[in-house]
């Protein structure tokens, strides 16, 4: 693997860095909205990975013009196009869940929510023994 | 000959537009206050992109691409100043005071209604 190969893989490595940043935001931050943003970053960098795989050097956008040309691979484009819109639909679902969580717990910090859940469980346990 | 002039003119527009975009970015970082920062951001959005689009139109010649670029330019011409105005307006209504100037008091009777709901 020489330097040219390494340069050829630079795209993928940068995309992996982005993916890991997104994953780190999801795992390490407690705020739910920030987790969703981190998930979006992860999603978008996965899309970039797929589209990078489909690129052909010297190619052009896969739209027929009548002249014989080299096209970039249209198949990843198709798959990622649907994936983007599905991604926003699931983001909307996640945000709706956050709104409901805020209504129920009055907080969107994961630590707060877990604390309240544990307190509720303990209170339930005590209630059962004294009934 | 004409092609050379058109090419040179389009290059001139593109370079000027890019220079203004860079100036806008620099101003965004260097300006001291929110309202003063908004001004270079507006430059990037309006004059910078419109000059770049004019340069691209000259490159494209008399094709459909030019019409589409013109429509994009017209759309940006409407929306960019509006968004800059909306940001400044929101800041003013929320109570952010400019650092180096004073706001004249609002005349009585105007804008005394409740704020818009979302």
């Amino acid at each position: 693997m020489d330097l040219r190969d390494a340069f050829g893989l630079f795209n993928y490595w940068m995309v992996i860095v982005l993916m890991m940043t997104g994953l780190y935001i999801v795992v390490s931050r407690g705020n739910l909205v920030k987790k969703i943003v981190g998930l979006n970053i992860f999603q978008t960098s996965v899309f970039l990975l797929y589209i990078s795989m489909g690129k052909v050097s010297g190619g052009t956008a896969p739209i027929l013009t009548g002249k014989p040309e080299v096209f970039s691979n249209p198949l990843p484009h198709v798959l990622i196009l649907t994936a983007i819109v599905v991604g926003v639909a699931t983001t909307a679902l996640g945000l709706a869940l956050i709104i409901r969580i805020k209504n129920a717990y009055n907080s969107i910090e994961e630590d707060e929510i877990q604390k309240q859940d544990l307190a509720a469980e303990n209170a339930e346990g005590d209630g059962r023994t004294t009934r | 000959m004409i092609a050379l002039i058109v090419d040179a003119a389009s290059w001139g527009f593109l370079v000027t537009g890019s220079f203004l975009v860079v100036v806008g970015a620099l101003g965004l970082v260097r300006m001291p206050d929110f309202y003063t920062r908004l001004h270079p951001a507006g430059i990037t959005d309006t004059l910078g992109t419109d000059l770049i689009l004019t340069g691209l139109m000259l490159q494209a010649g008399f094709t459909l691409v030019t019409v589409k670029l013109f429509l994009i330019g017209a759309f940006l011409f409407f929306t960019s100043p509006t968004s800059t105005h909306a940001i400044a307006n929101a800041a003013l209504v929320a109570g952010l005071k400019p650092r180096y100037a004073t706001i004249p008091p609002r005349p009585e009777g105007a804008g005394a209604g409740k704020k818009d709901a979302r």
Partner: protein, 329 residues
């Protein structure tokens, strides 16, 4: 020169991602995520994925940011400082990254025309789009015809997500009253005038993108999002009540299901002619004409569902009772 643009845009993206990681003001985080989507759309154009860039710009930088801001207005403004240890996530993420980099060492070089991904079905799709289907945009042809089943599944997923949002927020949506009108807003005058000017062109552009998807970048997904954007901006500037009178929630819910029905129905029509599900060649006098009609109908169904999902999601978010009034921000 090409790779310089690549490198610059990717570094930009990395910088934006790190800023999102570090910032604690949620408003900045959401805005930066919009910037991230827009810059990745630019990178996608550079990678020749024009359809995908179109969708990413419309969806990621547009609708997604609006929905996140609506959520922020209902929840919190700042992220609480985290008390958990950062070491374990960092190690996990680092090890995963290393494993992935190890995996890329076997991958073909970026831009290699002989990569295995370019073989198998792809040459058939490219030549088939010219001969069997006869439309210039290969991506639309593959999306709606060659991979029609996948797109049907995706449309159903979007529909399900829309239903999920409506179910989650159904109990708390405050139906805007008919008498809810705009209070005197002299300092929103510019916005109102410009919005009224622009909604027409936006809707026209959405229709253009919808029906022009055969010849250039476009299609149902992008058109649906742009269509929804027009109604969302109307609701943002003029209030939810006025927008609900223009496009009532009930109509949006009908459109939501109608889009998926159209898509599935086109497949059923092929059944009645004795061919496979979603075989469009029976819909017209010649096979190619049938393909054109089928793709048009199917994209229309997709556009309808996507637009309805975005609009109904925004209505659901905007109809929530805000925890604090506008004056206390």
């Amino acid at each position: 020169m090409e790779s310089a643009i690549n490198v610059a845009l990717l570094l930009f993206l990395a910088g934006t991602a790190f800023s999102i990681l570090r910032r604690t003001t949620l408003f900045s985080v959401v805005m930066l995520s919009g910037v991230f989507s827009l810059v990745s759309a630019a990178l996608l154009v550079h990678l020749d994925a024009v359809d995908v860039a179109f969708t990413e710009a419309a969806v990621g930088a547009g609708v997604s940011t609006v929905l996140m801001l609506s959520t922020l207005s209902l929840t919190a403004r700042h992220e609480a400082p985290s008390t958990r240890s950062r070491a374990i996530p960092l190690i996990v993420v680092f090890l995963t990254g290393l494993a992935l980099v190890y995996g890329t060492l076997d991958m073909p070089r970026f831009g290699d025309p002989d990569a295995p991904i370019h073989g198998h079905v792809v040459p058939r799709y490219i030549t088939g789009t010219a001969t069997e289907i006869g439309m210039p945009n290969i991506v639309t042809a593959v999306l709606a015809s060659y991979r029609g089943f996948d797109t049907l599944g995706e449309t159903t997923v979007i529909f399900t997500a829309g239903i999920g949002v409506l179910l989650l927020l159904a109990g708390t949506i405050r139906e805007p009253g008919v008498a809810e009108k705009l209070t005197a807003m002299d300092h929103h005058l510019v916005l109102r005038v410009v919005t009224k000017l622009l909604i027409g062109p936006i809707l026209l552009f959405a229709l253009y993108v919808q029906f022009h998807g055969d010849y250039g970048p476009g299609g149902g997904f992008q058109a649906g999002v742009i269509f929804a954007t027009a109604f969302i901006i109307y609701a943002l500037v003029f209030g939810l009540g006025t927008a609900s009178r223009a496009l009532p929630g009930r109509a949006v819910r009908v459109l939501l299901a109608l889009g998926v029905l159209i898509y599935g129905g086109v497949g059923l029509v092929s059944f009645f002619f004795g061919k496979n599900y979603l075989d469009y060649s029976v819909l017209g006098p010649t096979a190619a004409a049938g393909q054109h009609i089928g793709i048009l109908l199917v994209e229309f169904g997709v556009g309808m569902t996507v637009a309805a999902v975005m609009v109904s999601t925004y209505y659901a978010f905007a109809g929530q009772n805000p925890p604090i009034g506008d004056e206390e921000w």
